[in-house]
C-alpha cells in the first residue's frame, strides 16, 4: 500500500554568500526525509519541494509564497540568516503555516509560526563568555562582520564582561564578504590582547583566521580565539594548520560521543562521502525534519495547530542529545557545549552542560551579577559556581 505523501517546503540558497552553509543544511534535510520515507514507523512520506532564493533576501518571501500557493505546503524547513527569516515570518503568520528554522541566531524574536531548532543566545554566547572570564581573561578584542549577529553578540559580551570588571579592548567590524584583514591583524599583533572574539562569517572569517595564525606564528605569540559559529566544514576551508585552537561554542560537534551521533555520522558519511562532515546546521536541519515527522505522527495530522501542540515538550534523542520544543517560546531545549578545534579539522569537546538548557531568546533570565562574578582562578571554577555544569574532558 502506498503511504500518503505530505508536501514539505525546503528553502535553502544554493548560491550566494552563504551557499556552503545552506548546502549543508539541505543535505541534512534530504537525509532526514529519506529516512522518514523509508521508516516503517511512519505511515506517511514527505514530498520535498525545494526553492533556491540564491542568497537574495527579498527572494525568500517569493519562494515561500510560491511553496504555499503552488505546492500547498503547511510546513517549510529553511532559512539561514535572520534577514531571510524575517522575510518569511509575515507570510507564514498570515497563512498559518509553520517555518522550521534550523540555524542559531541572536534571539529577540518569538513567532507562533516558527519552530526555532537552532540555538538561542543563552546556549551559545553566554557559556562562551563565561568560560573566557573564568579561564582566559576579562579583556577581549572583538572582531566581527558588520551585521545583526555581531552587533548583538558584542552587546551581550560587553554587558557580561563589563559587569565582571573586564574590558572590551576593541570592537572592529568588517563588511560582509570583506577579506582585507591586514590592518586588523597588525593592530592585534601590536596590542597583543589576551583573547580575540571572532564573530566574522564566511570568507571574512576564513581569511582572518589564516592571517592571524600566520602573524602570530611569525611574532611568536599565542592569542586564544573564540567563536560562536565555526563548524567542521569551515575548518577544512580555513586549512588544517590555521584552524587549530579555536574555542567554539555550539550545541553540536561531529565529535559528540553518543550512540545516536555515531550512528548519525556514519549514515551521513555513507550518504555524502567519507570525507564529508555534518555541521551544526546540517545536523540541526536533520532534527527539524525528524521533529516535524514525529509531531505529525503524534498529531495524526499535518495540521499546523495540531503539529505545534504535538511538538511541544516532546523529547527526541537526537544526534546532539535530548531536544524538545519549549511551548512558551517555540525555541528548543538544547545542551550547550564548548570545544577546541584540533588537527584533522575536528573539535575536541571540553565542556558541556549536564542537561539541556531552557531556551531564553530574550535573555530575560540572564543574571548578569552571577555570570559576571569572577571566582578564584581555578580549573573547575565553572563547576563550583554552577552545579548544573559538567566538565567532560
Amino acid at each position: 500500500m502506498t503511504k500518503p505523501s505530505i508536501p514539505l517546503g525546503l528553502v535553502f540558497s544554493q548560491s550566494g554568500p552563504y551557499a556552503m552553509m545552506a548546502g549543508e543544511m539541505l543535505k541534512g534535510a534530504l537525509m532526514a526525509i529519506d529516512e522518514i520515507n523509508q521508516h516503517h514507523g511512519f505511515d506517511f512520506t514527505f514530498a520535498p519541494h525545494l526553492r533556491d532564493p540564491g542568497g537574495i533576501v527579498a527572494a525568500y518571501h517569493t519562494a515561500c509564497a510560491d511553496l504555499i500557493r503552488e505546492e500547498h505546503v503547511d510546513h517549510i524547513v529553511g532559512c539561514y540568516t535572520s534577514a531571510s527569516r524575517k522575510q518569511v515570518i509575515p507570510i507564514v503568520e498570515r497563512t498559518e503555516r509553520l517555518l522550521w528554522h534550523p540555524a542559531r541566531y541572536e534571539g529577540f524574536e518569538s513567532s507562533d509560526n516558527v519552530i526555532y531548532v537552532g540555538a538561542a543566545p543563552n546556549h551559545t554566547v553566554v557559556p562562551l563568555v563565561r568560560h573566557m572570564l573564568d579561564h582566559i581573561s576579562g579583556d577581549v578584542f572583538c572582531i566581527g562582520s558588520n551585521y545583526v549577529w555581531t552587533w548583538e553578540t558584542n552587546r551581550v559580551t560587553r554587558e557580561i564582561v563589563t559587569s565582571a570588571g573586564g574590558r572590551i579592548l576593541a570592537e572592529r567590524l568588517l563588511e560582509l564578504g570583506e577579506t582585507a584583514v591586514d590592518h586588523i591583524i597588525k593592530e592585534i599583533i601590536d596590542r597583543k590582547p589576551p583573547v580575540v572574539f571572532n564573530t566574522l562569517v564566511g570568507e571574512s572569517s576564513y581569511s582572518f583566521i589564516r592571517a592571524l595564525h600566520a602573524a602570530t606564528m611569525r611574532a611568536g605569540l599565542a592569542i586564544p580565539m573564540l567563536s560562536c559559529s565555526l563548524c567542521e566544514p569551515e575548518l577544512k576551508l580555513i586549512g588544517s594548520a590555521a584552524s587549530v585552537g579555536c574555542i567554539t561554542s555550539s550545541a553540536y560537534f561531529e565529535s559528540i560521543e553518543r550512540p545516536e551521533n555515531r550512528a548519525f555520522v556514519a549514515r551521513w558519511k555513507a550518504r555524502y562521502g567519507a570525507d564529508s562532515n555534518p555541521s551544526v546546521d546540517g545536523q540541526s536541519t536533520y532534527i527539524c525534519v525528524i521533529l516535524l515527522a514525529r509531531a505529525i505522527r503524534r498529531a495524526d495530522s499535518a495540521d499546523v495547530g495540531a503539529v505545534r501542540r504535538a511538538a511541544a515538550n516532546h523529547r527526541y534523542d537526537s544526534p546532539q542529545g535530548p531536544i524538545w520544543v519549549d511551548p512558551d517560546n517555540n525555541h528548543c531545549f538544547l545542551t550547550p557545549r564548548l570545544a577546541r578545534s584540533v588537527h584533522g579539522c575536528q573539535f575536541r569537546i571540553f565542556w558541556e552542560a549536564d542537561a539541556p538548557e531552557r531556551p531564553d531568546p530574550y535573555l530575560s533570565n540572564l543574571d548578569l551579577p552571577a555570570v559576571g562574578t569572577r571566582p578564584e582562578k581555578s580549573n573547575d571554577a565553572m563547576t563550583k559556581r554552577s552545579t548544573h555544569l559538567r566538565i567532560v574532558k
Binding site: 524575517k86 509575515p90 529577540f108 558588520n146 551585521y147 552587533w151 548583538e152 552587546r155
Partner: protein, 199 residues
C-alpha cells in the same frame, strides 16, 4: 501663526528612506491616499538637503556601525520601521529619537496613527524646547535678581521679601519683567527712575 493640527496630514512632505520594494509600495500607496507629497531616498546615501515634515526610515536598512548611522539625527520627526528587535538595534534607534514607529511587515493600517503621533510629538518637542529655553533664561537671571534684591534691601532699608515685592510691583507697573528690572537696578545701583508705561 496657526499651528497645523497633527491630524491634518494632507500636503505635508514625507521622505521615504527605505529599500524593500514591497514595503515601499505599501508606504507609497498609503502616503498618496493621505494626500502627502513623497520623496524617496536610498538608505545608503546621506540625507538630502531639502526640508521635509516627516522621515519614514527603515531602521534595518542602515548598519549600526556605519558613517550613516548618525547623519539621520535631523529636525524632522522620524517614523522608524522596525523589523529587528535586538537591543543593539533598538539602542541605535533610540539615539535617533524616533517620534513614532511601525512594525514590519507594513500593513495598510497603522501609518496614519504613526503620522499623527509623530507630528504631535514633534510639536510637543518644539514647545518643550521653547519652554526649557525660557526657564533656563530665568535661571541664568536669578543671580541678577538676587543682586537686585540685595541692592534694594540696602538702599531702601527693606527686608528680603519686602525688597522682592517692591521689585515685582515696580516691574508690573512698568510692564517689564522682574529680570529686566533687576538688571536695571544692578546697573544704576538702585531703583531706576522711570515713568510707568501706558498701554
Amino acid at each position: 501663526m496657526t499651528r497645523p493640527s497633527p491630524f491634518s496630514v494632507r500636503g505635508r512632505r514625507a521622505l521615504m528612506v527605505m529599500r524593500d520594494e514591497r514595503e515601499i509600495s505599501i508606504m507609497r500607496r498609503q502616503l498618496n491616499r493621505l494626500g502627502m507629497t513623497i520623496t524617496e531616498y536610498d538608505p545608503a546615501e546621506s540625507p538630502p538637503d531639502e526640508a521635509v515634515d516627516v522621515i519614514v526610515l527603515d531602521a534595518d536598512s542602515i548598519p549600526i556601525k556605519s558613517d550613516l548611522a548618525t547623519v539621520w539625527k535631523v529636525d524632522a520627526p522620524i517614523i522608524a520601521l522596525i523589523g529587528t528587535e535586538t537591543p543593539s538595534r533598538l539602542k541605535w534607534l533610540l539615539d535617533l529619537k524616533p517620534a513614532s514607529f511601525l512594525i514590519k511587515p507594513l500593513r495598510s493600517a497603522g501609518l496614519y496613527t504613526a503620522l499623527v503621533v509623530a507630528f504631535d510629538s514633534a510639536q510637543r518637542r518644539i514647545d518643550e524646547a521653547a519652554r526649557i529655553e525660557r526657564l533656563e533664561d530665568r535661571i541664568r537671571c536669578r543671580r541678577v535678581v538676587f543682586a537686585a534684591i540685595l541692592q534694594v534691601m540696602r538702599t531702601h532699608d527693606r527686608s528680603e521679601s519686602e525688597a522682592f515685592t517692591l521689585i515685582r510691583e515696580t516691574a508690573m507697573r512698568h510692564r517689564t519683567t522682574i529680570e529686566q528690572l533687576s538688571a536695571e537696578i544692578v546697573a544704576v545701583g538702585g531703583m531706576p527712575h522711570r515713568t510707568p508705561r501706558t498701554a
